[in-house]
């Protein structure tokens, strides 16, 4: 007890791109506890969304996160299409799938690079980010921007993939595949990387279920969940691909899941380019019928969930977002316990945390935080009891 110390990580820390605060409770070199303090990135998207029209909101939710900037608008338009029963042309479904998978490749390579950076292996960082530029070039060609693609709209997509672009995409995919292949072999054969990643930050299957983790974090712990398989959106049900999962739950398994998913994504894009039918890319939407709908999309980090309730006007009366990192970050509470401080930073980053996605609320009074986590939980219970009194019995 006597030599218990606290090591703060954040809010501005060289390891992190974004402001967030972790309080590591350590005994000597060993981490024995972790407190997570979020809320530095809250911008009030849900509030602003209730003042914007359905045409504008995809641009807003895109800016929740710059890395999953296709998943959020995709989940949003799926929710609106669900609420108002809007049909989407088949070509648009395929284009959405292609963009979604390109985003996954770029995000996974980005994570690998950062993981290399966190273990002090900057060569991996530089390599991964160099090959990621190929994907960004494709984005620039198809959508006109390196990030924030603005492809989704209610009823379809905004831009078509032109026939003359397809050979260029295929050429770039071949190059990405060879580079990722080389990269995978280099990583999985490197004894230094194996020593740093193997049996570090183990999240057991039971803990993964308890903390309800999603995405690659869950798949690395032996839980085979993927919205693309379980509840296929876009064109995923028309395409042949495999879900990658491992049972180990350590950081190496998470890296392997992400690396192998890049190949699956390349496979999906190739099939999409082949199967894509001709036709319109959007259906005209004149009004959004009253109703409520949900949209689920598999972001690179896991399941993104959007809920929209419309009342027949052009502005939603409620828009609720749940991002995958919200579930994944909390699992760090168990994943870092028992490892050294040097490994802790890697464990914290292993879930591919995205804090800007996560921050859904903050409460202040006179510049100070008003509620603690426990108080918020109690408030939430109180509200649920008020809304659904029959559940209480």
């Amino acid at each position: 007890m006597s030599n218990r110390r606290i090591v703060p990580i954040g809010p501005y820390h060289p390891l992190q791109e974004e402001p967030e605060f972790f309080k590591l409770i350590v005994e000597g070199e060993k981490v024995i506890g972790l407190e997570i303090n979020l809320g530095y990135n809250h911008r009030g998207h849900e509030f602003i969304a209730q003042k914007m029209t359905y045409e504008q909101i995809p641009y807003l939710v895109e800016r929740i996160c710059g890395i999953c900037s296709n998943s959020h608008p995709l989940a949003f338009v799926l929710a609106v299409e669900d609420a108002a029963a809007i049909e989407v042309p088949e070509r648009a479904q395929y284009i959405r799938t292609i963009i979604h998978e390109l985003e996954r490749i770029h995000s996974h390579l980005l994570w690998l690079g950062l993981a290399g950076h966190f273990i002090g292996y900057n060569t991996v960082w530089m390599w991964a980010w160099r090959y990621r530029e190929l994907v960004l070039d494709l984005f620039e060609m198809i959508t006109g921007n390196r990030n924030h693609y603005a492809m989704n709209k209610v009823g379809g997509v905004r831009r078509d993939i032109l026939p003359e672009q397809i050979p260029l995409i295929e050429k770039a995919l071949t190059e990405i595949e060879t580079k990722t292949n080389m990269f995978t072999k280099a990583i999985l054969d490197d004894p230094v990387i194996l020593a740093r990643l193997e049996n570090v930050g183990v999240l057991t299957k039971q803990a993964a279920i308890d903390y309800a983790v999603v995405g690659p974090t869950a798949r690395a712990s032996g839980i085979a969940i993927d919205v693309r398989k379980d509840d296929p959106h876009c064109a995923y049900d028309k395409i042949d691909w495999n879900m990658i999962y491992f049972d180990e739950g350590d950081v190496l398994a998470k890296a392997k899941v992400r690396l192998l998913e890049c190949f699956e994504s390349i496979k999906i894009i190739r099939q999409c380019l082949k199967q894509m039918p001709q036709g319109p890319i959007e259906n005209r939407v004149d009004e959004i019928a009253p109703g409520e709908g949900i949209g689920r999309a598999e972001a690179p980090r896991g399941e993104v969930f959007h809920y929209v309730r419309s009342d027949g006007t052009n502005i939603p009366i409620r828009h609720k977002i749940r991002a995958p990192s919200f579930m994944n970050i909390v699992s760090n509470e168990v994943a870092v316990i028992g490892y050294s401080i040097a490994d802790a930073a890697l464990c914290l980053a292993a879930v591919d945390p995205c804090y800007c996605c996560t921050e859904r609320m903050a409460a202040f009074e006179d510049g100070k935080e008003r509620y603690t986590g426990k108080q918020l939980l109690e408030l939430s219970w109180e509200k649920t009891n008020k809304m659904f009194p029959h559940l209480n019995k």
Partner: protein
């Protein structure tokens, strides 16, 4: 003596990256500018881990109520004279978060900003141009 310090600032500026409620996108474009395609490290521009080592601050995102005191603290810790370079539309104005209850305004309301780089996100080329303009300003 002041001229000497500015002369020191001009050569190989070390940058510290401050993200106040950003969407991560300008941040990854800053990192992309450091990696092989653009490789600003060959000019001696290095990302450092502490504001106390920095010559320039690359600020991104809008400031919200929780990050405001921290951002001001980071600015105070940076040795003066220093450059503050606003990357992205959020740091130049409030972008689309104008109506938000938690956003307390763009950077130049709270700390002096030398160069604004608009764009959502600005391309790495634009970020490099912004840094060059900031250095020319000295």
């Amino acid at each position: 003596m002041k001229d000497f310090r500015i002369w020191g600032l001009k050569k190989s500026p070390w940058v510290f990256h401050v993200a106040a409620a950003s969407c991560n996108n300008c941040d990854i474009e800053i990192l992309a500018a450091l990696t092989p395609r653009f490789d600003v490290e060959r000019f001696g521009i290095v990302l450092v881990g502490s504001p106390r080592h920095a010559d320039a601050l690359l600020v991104t995102g809008v400031i919200n109520r929780k990050t405001l005191p921290r951002v001001i603290q980071v600015y105070q810790q940076t040795p003066k004279p220093c450059l503050v370079i606003g990357v992205g539309t959020c740091s130049c104005s409030k972008h689309m978060f104008e109506d938000s209850y938690n956003v307390v305004g763009p950077y130049d309301k709270h700390i002096p900003v030398d160069v604004y780089i608009p764009g959502c996100p600005p391309k790495p080329e634009a970020i490099i141009l912004g840094v060059v303009k900031a250095l020319q300003k000295l």
